[in-house]
């Protein structure tokens, strides 16, 4: 199967006015197939946007080449590039009195004639793109009256209307609340699979990226680039190395970041099921580390009606509580002694 996109020894960066090149990162050896999502992650200034701009041709690479299929993008005209690659930015512009339909129809620009007239076929493609992103109800609304989530859907519909095989999104989750972020990434994954397009997105949302991306490209902020499956990157310790600070550490076991709390104490834990899972979360949040110690011991009794927690400070001091709050109160007393 041919690769949708690959980069060869690509170095990205900016060229200053006097022709001096400032390299941000490289070499980037990106390659992926239709139907995959690649997430670009990295600290601020590590080159996520620079890479997206370089791939779309808005910036020239410092060195190396970018191939779409078998063709180098330097051989493609702007219009041909636009037929194969769509860019979705967070900037929506001051488009007053622009309707949802018109904003999606702009995606037909690389296909339409010089006067921007829409054919019947163009209208069908626009309609279909809006259906795929569940945004047909926004067709007659004005874009400047919509929420960020609704505009984001229209922007993705526009990218689909462009009929590009590769969609690049710069920080698509930046202005959305958590449920909308999950919804957006779910939508992108479904579109990816059903239409066999490739998606590259940059994000600060590491947790979500690890759940939705097929591969991740980590820019470490020092110019190095890692590209692999999310799980492989976690196992290699890339996330801890790149993102951990003095106070924030990457929890290898749960694949998420935590704020290092002072004076973490170990606690033994027994129990399985929903109540046990949420109890573990509460313990972690309060800075307890679940480990193989003898005491203190917590045993969860998973009763569907009245769950209870059996707690033992030592062999003689035992107690039963019936809500989480009481459990945490009791534990904080132990910590003090």
């Amino acid at each position: 199967m041919t690769e949708l996109l690959h980069t060869k020894d690509l170095h990205i960066g900016y060229t200053a006015s006097k022709g001096k090149a400032y390299e941000v990162a490289g070499p980037v050896d990106l390659h992926f197939k239709p139907g995959e999502i690649v997430a670009l992650v990295g600290p601020n200034g590590s080159g996520k946007s620079t890479l997206l701009k370089t791939i779309t041709g808005l910036l020239k690479p410092i060195a190396g080449e970018i191939f779409l299929g078998n063709e180098s993008i330097t051989q493609l005209s702007l219009r041909e590039r636009a037929r194969r690659m769509a860019l979705v930015t967070t900037h929506f512009g001051g488009a007053h009195a622009m309707t949802g339909f018109d904003s999606v129809a702009l995606g037909r620009s690389p296909h339409s004639g010089w006067l921007d007239r829409l054919t019947e076929h163009d209208r069908e493609v626009v309609q279909h793109s809006m259906e795929s992103t569940d945004s047909t109800h926004l067709a007659t609304r004005f874009v400047d009256e919509l929420s960020d989530g609704e505009r984001q859907r229209l922007a993705i519909a526009r990218a689909l209307a462009q009929e590009a095989s590769l969609i690049l999104l710069d920080e698509p989750t930046a202005f959305l609340d958590l449920p909308h972020r999950v919804g957006l990434l779910g939508l992108l994954r479904n579109l990816c699979r059903s239409k066999q397009v490739g998606v590259i997105l940059s994000t600060h949302d590491l947790d979500l990226a690890m759940r939705f991306a097929d591969r991740m490209l980590v820019l470490d902020g020092k110019g190095h680039v890692e590209y692999d499956l999310p799980e492989a990157l976690a196992l290699q310790g890339v996330f801890s190395r790149v993102f951990s600070t003095q106070d924030v550490f990457f929890d290898m076991k749960h694949g998420s970041f935590h704020f290092a709390q002072l004076g973490c104490i170990q606690v033994a834990f027994k129990g399985q099921g929903l109540v046990a899972d949420w109890t573990r979360r509460a313990l972690r949040r309060k800075g307890w580390i679940i480990d193989d110690v003898q005491y203190p011991l917590i045993e969860v009794c998973e009763d569907p009606v009245t769950p209870s927690w059996q707690i033992s400070a030592n062999a003689n001091d035992q107690k039963e509580v019936y809500n989480l709050e009481a459990l945490l109160d009791w534990l904080s007393k132990i910590r003090l002694t």
Partner: protein, 309 residues
């Protein structure tokens, strides 16, 4: 068809169908009113299209035909002729000086546009150019002959009544060329509303089209200012009116809509300026502001031209 002498419908009919017998009313109609109305239509649509182009290129609802200082350039030329008495001080001298001044500023702005990466800095540079040229004009007013000041101030009031039949072709032709120039930039105008990088990623060469659009806007502004003087507010107000009335941001509709609204509003403003039958004509600039400001208010308060984000 309003002016100092009132013409009855039958006078007008006679003057239109049989000018030889109509006498003075035919002269008024053919030598004053019809050229004035035509000038208003041409200048009004030209200025409004220039305003639309500026608002789209700079993605700023406050942009208008004069933001890049082109009318100041024309003013500089006129000041040289009328205030300092360079040249004969004839109407032809005024026209050529205004044209040269407008062309000079236009060249500088387009040259800057070629080197300027961001439209915002270009906008600021254009504004600065305008201030610079205006201050030169102020200096000329200060040092110039006070007796000649009135002629310059009158030019600055703006008027549709200075264009004669033999000049109509140049005005109309240049405005026509300016409007035709925008047609190849149609895709740019529509997509750049989403931002320049988005426009480029939709296959549009932003840099080239930006210069085409600014060039067309400059040409339209220059030619109307040369013949009619600086006419405020039309170019700023009409695009808002067109967007609000036609409820669209698509330039395929917005461009003809702006031409239509610009022509109508300019003719109305011309009529109002000529209403007082005794005291001659009102300054056109005052009338366009009186009409233009409420239009901008209305369009903005209707909601589809909100100033936020």
């Amino acid at each position: 068809m309003i002016g100092a002498v009132s013409l009855s419908p039958s006078d007008i009919w006679l003057a239109l169908t049989n000018p030889e017998q109509a006498g003075i009313s035919a002269t008024i109609l053919w030598q004053m009113r019809i050229p004035r109305t035509l000038t208003a239509m041409i200048a009004g649509s030209g200025l409004s299209v220039a305003g639309l182009l500026m608002q789209t290129v700079f993605r700023n609802v406050l942009a208008g035909p004069y933001v890049l200082g082109i009318s100041s350039g024309a003013g500089l030329g006129v000041a040289l002729v009328l205030l300092l008495g360079v040249g004969a001080g004839s109407w032809f001298g005024v026209l050529s000086a205004a044209t040269l001044g407008a062309l000079l500023v236009m060249m500088i702005v387009l040259w800057l546009a070629h080197y300027c990466k961001s439209p915002v800095s270009l906008l600021v540079l254009g504004l600065m150019m305008g201030y610079l040229v205006d201050s030169l004009v102020s200096l000329m007013i200060h040092f110039g002959d006070p007796n000649r000041l009135e002629a310059f101030v009158n030019w600055g009031f703006g008027s549709f009544g200075r264009v004669h039949w033999n000049e109509m072709g140049i005005l109309g032709g240049t405005v026509g060329v300016g409007i035709l120039l925008t047609l190849p930039a149609m895709k740019y105008l529509n997509t750049v509303l989403l931002g320049e990088s988005q426009s480029q990623s939709l296959g549009v060469s932003v840099k080239r089209n930006r210069i085409i659009a600014l060039g067309a806007a400059s040409l339209l502004t220059a030619v109307t200012t040369v013949y009619c003087g600086p006419i405020g507010f039309l170019g700023l107000a009409v695009p808002h009116l067109a967007r609000t009335v036609f409820q669209t941001a698509n330039h395929r509709i917005l461009l003809p809509a702006t031409i239509l609204c610009g022509a109508v509003l300019a003719v109305l403003a011309g009529w109002v300026a000529n209403l007082p039958t005794q005291g001659g004509v009102l300054p056109l600039n005052a009338v366009t502001a009186l009409i233009g400001v409420p239009v901008v208010f209305w369009a903005l308060l209707r909601g589809h031209g909100r100033l936020d984000d």
